[in-house]
């Protein structure tokens, strides 16, 4: 897994009712709520924010429009640990669900799909054993078993990172040297 620490900033709208001694706390909280576990197309998935710089903030009161008057906008700088998967990157993950079409592997916050075509080839001889309990992918000689909770090392083939975290997905393969189940 490859994480970055990135200096980012975010515009937060704070309602006047929070103007008070605990404003900084509110801002921090708000920032965490809004940013953590979100995703940006550019930076990837934001896992954790820290070093929130609330000491030198200056809010600007927004012109009254949609919002009740007095809402202020604070541009809050912060550090974030971000995770952005790249094509060709090798990741470790845990199989979340397996089916005849392939596997869904959870690599940290990212769900990677390994399609049948990228999972089984003549070399590893994997095939879907739906009648097995639990159903799993198994090689013909039964030496490789990939089922739920199996740890896999995979290579990312392609990613789709969008601002909505639920839309993020990636496609991976284990058909390469040193990829596949790991202990």
């Amino acid at each position: 897994m490859f994480f970055h620490v990135k200096r980012l900033s975010k515009n937060l709208q704070i309602e006047p009712k929070y103007y008070g001694p605990s404003l900084a706390v509110v801002i921090k909280q708000r920032l965490q709520d809004e940013v953590e576990n979100s995703c940006s197309e550019r930076y990837g998935i934001v896992l954790k924010v820290f070093n929130i710089d609330v000491d030198n903030l200056e809010g600007k009161i927004m012109p009254t429009g949609m919002h009740p008057g007095g809402t202020a906008v604070f541009t809050v700088p912060y550090d974030a640990i971000v995770f952005k998967p790249f094509k060709g990157e090798v990741l470790n993950g845990v199989v979340k669900s397996s089916a005849a079409q392939g596997l869904f592997v959870q690599c940290g916050p990212l769900q990677v799909f390994i399609a049948k075509a990228n999972l089984a080839d003549d070399n590893n001889g994997l095939e879907w054993r739906g009648d097995n309990t639990p159903p799993c992918w198994m090689s013909r000689d039964e030496r490789i078993v990939i089922g739920d909770k199996t740890h896999l090392r995979l290579r990312i083939l392609g990613t789709r990172i969008q601002n909505d975290i639920s839309q993020c997905s990636a496609v991976g393969t284990i058909l390469d040297d040193y990829l596949g189940p790991i202990d």
Partner: protein, 1042 residues
């Protein structure tokens, strides 16, 4: 080279001549000319056109090689001319007299036909033909050169001089034969010396069932046709001159069938199937095609022949490759496959359904009439189909390569590029260069290369480019059977793309040309008939034999079938016509393993044993005790699976709402007893009531001790939908009561804070007096004196905090909830206590709308109700659930300060402290509770009111007089009536309307409502133009005296 002046050419030149001749040639000359042979014709023409020389010269030049022939022919012709003349003299006896002119003209025509006759009989050489053809070309060119404005008209025959064309109906399909017969007849009779006097006979493929005969007289045509079979001589029509050319125009019908091409069968068992063209027989208009057989392998031997035949013809077997060699004779026989010797090749072949002949690769081939096929370039096989056919190509000739190239050549697909598409260059120097389509101009595509070294835009042919996709791209299929499906590219093999579909989680193969980048998610075929994906459908309704109707959820939509997951977890394929939509699911509820109510949209976890144990899913549909659950993680059945409701446990809170006003009360009506029980009863967790009735209008009750029962009390509703109505309390909980309205005899559930005691209206019934711990209900009443602090604030309702840690779910507790013997809960003794619903206790929790969002911050709900009532902006009495919005976890801090704690209660502190705003902006403080009319007559003169009960219900009018408790209302239309004030409701003022303030120190002042902000009305006072913010319920529309 005489032939170069074939009839057509001649006619054309004649036409030309005629058009000119009409103007400047006189008849005599014409006659003269006609007397000679065509040389004269040409000379004639030269007079009009000065073209004779050229025409003639080319004729001569061209004909130079064939001088001898020419001479012979010339002689021939002269001879014949003579004989003909004499013949005609004889013939003409019985016929009408022909003028000399005509006679000569006819003679000329006849000569032509003889020439044709010669032509037919002459020993034709290739050169002859070439020359003839070339000549025709020349002539055409010559024609083209004419600067006549209307060339077409120039081609038209002159009605007065040229032969006419008759169109004769003949038996279908005999056209060709008849024309040949006519020709033979003509030749034979001519040889016998009694020719028939037609100049031409022809047919046109487009006019089926007609032949055309050209002659000077109708009688000649009739004569010629006499004795021929299949001619309906009575149906003979003269073709108008203008349409004549049309009869000889052959619309080039390009038979798009080409060997290797594709078609679809139009009818029959194979209707819609894709077939590959093997051979084309243009003359017969037939196409030999190869198709995947549909062999019916059902055994009909149990039926007699006719029945078996009937059944066989009804049944459409699935498509699949079938190789008769793999089966025994007896089986084949049973399936109607015959083995016989092919007449032409002498091989043994198997046939089915008559003449579907099996080929080696498991296909069948058959000659189809073109009509029964749909041909065209838009018919392209799907990749799956292609694979099947391709596979055959491999097995047949063992040359997979050939089949591959064959394949790609066949599927020269139209690539439709759009701006923004990513393309790859397929061929040429820049092969494999990627680029984005910048613009498209017809066939030329300008791309912006994705290459560091190439900066300028490049232009390509459409054919040189292909769409480019990478694994991980999210794409949408835009063509073919799968059109509309979206998915993620998992693998790319040349032009073949493997896609994992978003919805069904299946892998499909698609050509890159059929794909497009997309952001949307869709299952493609969304609607088949009236059905959509995930619809609940009724498969079989309950019948006498089956008490349980069978339902299912649509998990896949195909062209004309639905894949349905039924309530037993089986997949069934059904036709849309065989099922009905099932609509009840939205309101259905079920009980989970812990007797909690589950409704659509709830999340449940499977606890029952089985393969699904531990899985979670969202309830999509409920059918009786079956839950149709959706889990996006599941790949089978589009994520749907079926569980029995008892095998599941509700996770979090139910979203269940009944279609009952009670529900609109949202949180206030829901009681989560756990915490309250702890507080109130000192560790008697289950001891409080909490029940819900499942039936609409079910009554929730809480078995809290309370001071006095409300039942039988006469109350007036002061808020909400039923505002202003009077009724009797029939049932109650600590937060709500059910009021039977005097006006409509309906029972409605109302928050207790929304009703006032009719007897003593000043006394807003404090609902919290029901709580035993309340130190003194009077205390609250004292508070109620100040309108701004109306104690109706059910602040204690905070104690109903939806505590997710409460134990409503344990199966043992429900019993306690309903234990009527629980001491200290007098309400339990009441008859109205809906103890009869122990089976559905879970309902008490269900109406709670927002708990899931804030399960971890129960204290944030402290003072819940009060805030909810008072929150400006969020307030909407009829939809209290919205009031919860300020409590979203994003703003937890704001509430922490006045979060309600148990201690407050115990110490008898007044609960209003909770509402005391710690920051001025906090919602909840500065707000008078909705105007509870505190005087017997709240009405003022000249306000607009609506009558809410009595004879004139729902009429609006203006109060013209206030008399004690009654008002005189003048309704629209001038009628006036006396109505008790309680039966009136002030019409809610709109922005910019004139308003009057009903209560408070400004009572009676008028102003203009210049804005509405949630519950606040912004009023510009008439008196001093002050801007005041007034609670909307305190405002009424002011109708000044006219």
């Amino acid at each position: 080279m005489v032939e170069s002046d074939s009839d057509d050419d001649r006619r054309a030149s004649k036409d030309r001549k005629n058009s000119d001749a009409e103007e400047d040639d006189d008849e005599d000359e014409e006659v003269e000319a006609d007397e000679e042979s065509e040389e004269e014709d040409e000379r004639e023409e030269s007079r009009g056109k000065k073209k004779g020389k050229r025409s003639r010269s080319y004729y001569v030049d061209d004909a130079a090689d064939d001088d001898d022939d020419e001479e012979e022919e010339e002689d021939d012709r002269k001879k014949r001319k003579k004989s003909k003349k004499s013949r005609r003299d004889e013939d003409s006896d019985g016929e009408e007299e022909l003028s000399d002119n005509e006679a000569e003209k006819m003679a000329a025509q006849m000569r032509n036909s003889y020439r044709r006759h010669d032509f037919l009989t002459a020993d034709l050489t290739q050169e002859d033909l070439d020359a003839r053809y070339r000549g025709a070309m020349h002539d055409d060119e010559a024609l083209d050169g004419i600067t006549d404005e209307n060339v077409k008209n120039a081609r038209l025959p002159d009605a007065t001089k040229d032969p006419k064309v008759w169109c004769i109906k003949v038996a279908n399909g005999t056209e060709k034969t008849l024309v040949i017969q006519l020709m033979n007849k003509f030749v034979t009779l001519a040889k016998e010396g009694k020719p028939i006097h037609i100049t031409c006979a022809y047919w046109n493929e487009q006019s089926l069932g007609y032949i055309y005969v050209e002659a000077y007289k109708e009688a000649f045509v009739k004569e010629a046709l006499s004795g021929l079979r299949g001619v309906y001589a009575t149906k003979m029509k003269l073709v108008p001159v203008k349409e004549m050319t049309d009869t000889v125009v052959i619309i080039k019908k390009s038979l798009s069938a080409q060997p290797g091409g594709w078609a679809r069968v139009r009818r029959g068992k194979y209707k819609g199937d894709i077939v590959q063209v093997l051979a084309v027989e243009h003359n017969r208009n037939e196409v030999e095609v190869k198709l995947v057989p549909r062999v019916d392998t059902n055994d009909y031997s149990a039926f007699d022949d006719s029945e078996a035949k009937k059944r066989r013809s009804k049944f459409i077997p699935p498509r699949r490759l079938f190789n008769p060699d793999n089966y025994g004779e007896s089986d084949l026989d049973k399936w109607g496959i015959e083995n016989h010797r092919d007449q032409s090749s002498g091989d043994n072949v198997y046939t089915v359904d008559g003449d579907f002949t099996f080929t080696g690769g498991g296909f069948v081939k058959k000659w189809f009439a073109v009509k029964s096929l749909t041909l065209g370039s838009d018919i392209q096989p799907e990749l799956d189909d292609l694979k099947i056919f391709e596979q055959d190509a491999k097995t047949e000739d063992g040359l997979p390569n050939r089949s591959m190239t064959h394949l790609t050549s066949i599927h020269k697909r139209k690539v439709i590029l759009n701006k923004g598409d990513v393309v790859r260059v397929k061929e040429g120097e820049l092969r494999d260069l990627l680029g984005d389509v910048d613009s498209i101009d017809g066939k030329r595509v300008i791309i912006r290369p994705r290459h560091e070294a190439i900066k300028q835009k490049l232009e390509f042919n459409m054919e040189e480019l292909e769409k480019y996709f990478e694994a991980g791209d999210h794409v949408k299929v835009v063509n073919g059977r799968r059109a509309g499906v979206t998915g993620t590219v998992v693998r790319v093999e040349g032009e073949t793309i493997y896609i994992l579909t978003d919805v069904n989680r299946e892998e499909i193969l698609v050509f890159s040309s059929d794909l497009q980048d997309t952001n949307e998610v869709s299952s493609g075929l969304d609607v088949v008939g009236a059905f959509r994906l995930y619809d609940l459908v009724l498969l079989e309704s309950a019948s006498s034999s089956m008490t349980m109707p069978s339902v299912g959820v649509v998990v896949q939509l195909e062209k004309d079938t639905l894949q349905v997951l039924d309530n037993y977890g089986k997949i069934r394929a059904v036709r849309p016509a065989d099922v009905q939509p099932h609509k009840k699911s939205a309101t259905a509820v079920a009980l989970d393993g812990e007797q909690q109510t589950i409704a659509q949209g709830d999340v449940v976890r499977v606890v029952g044993d089985g393969p699904m144990k531990g899985k979670t899913g969202t309830v999509r549909h409920i059918f009786r005790a079956f839950l149709f659950l959706y889990s996006p993680a599941r790949m089978e059945n589009a994520g749907m699976f079926v569980m029995r409701s008892r095998q599941c446990v509700l996770m979090g809170q139910s979203k269940h709402k009944e279609n009952d006003p009670t529900n609109t009360l949202g949180g206030a009506a829901s009681l989560i007893p756990g915490r309250m029980g702890d507080a109130g009863r000192g560790g008697f967790p289950g001891g409080m009531g909490g029940a819900g009735a499942m039936q609409p209008g079910g009554f929730r009750a809480a078995g809290r001790g309370r001071g006095a029962s409300w039942e039988g009390k006469r109350v007036r509703i002061i808020r909400g939908f039923d505002k202003g109505k009077v009724g009797t309390v029939k049932e109650e909980t600590d937060a709500i009561c059910r009021v039977e309205l005097d006006a409509t005899h309906k029972k409605v559930a109302v928050k207790k804070t929304d009703v006032v005691d009719l007897v003593d209206e000043k006394r807003v019934i404090p609902s919290h007096m029901a709580i035993p711990q309340t130190p003194s209900s009077d205390h609250f009443q004292a508070g109620s004196q100040t309108p701004a602090w109306t104690p109706s604030t059910p602040a204690h309702d905070g104690s109903q905090t939806p505590n997710p840690y409460a134990e409503p779910g344990t199966p043992s507790t429900p019993r306690n909830f309903f234990d009527p013997n629980t001491p200290g809960t007098p309400m339990h003794d009441s008859t109205s206590w809906d103890a009869g619903t122990p089976a559905t206790p879970g309902a008490y929790a269900s109406p709670y709308e927002h708990p899931a969002a804030t399960p971890a911050t129960p204290t944030a709900y402290g003072g819940y109700s009060s805030n909810y009532v008072q929150t400006p902006g969020a307030l909407n009495p009829t939809t209290p659930g919205e009031g919860a919005s300020p409590f979203t976890p994003s703003t937890p801090g704001g509430y922490a300060s006045y979060g309600y704690g148990q201690g407050n209660w115990q110490t008898g502190q007044t609960p209003f402290d909770q509402g005391t705003p710690q920051t001025p902006a906090t919602p909840g403080g500065d707000f008078p509770v909705r105007a509870a009319p505190q005087v017997s007559n709240w009405c003022l003169k000249r306000i607009e009111v609506r009558i809410v009960s009595g004879e004139f219900i729902d009429r609006t009018g203006v109060v013209v007089e206030v008399k004690g408790p009654d008002c005189k209302v003048e309704m629209q239309g001038g009628q006036s009536t006396m109505v008790p004030a309680e039966d009136l409701e002030a019409v809610v003022p709109q922005k910019n309307s004139s308003v009057i303030i009903l209560q408070g120190e400004l009572k009676g002042s008028t102003g203009k409502l210049i804005g509405i902000d949630g519950r606040d009305g912004i009023v510009k006072m008439d008196l001093n133009s002050d801007i005041k913010i007034i609670d909307m319920p305190l405002l009424a529309v002011h109708v000044p005296e006219a």
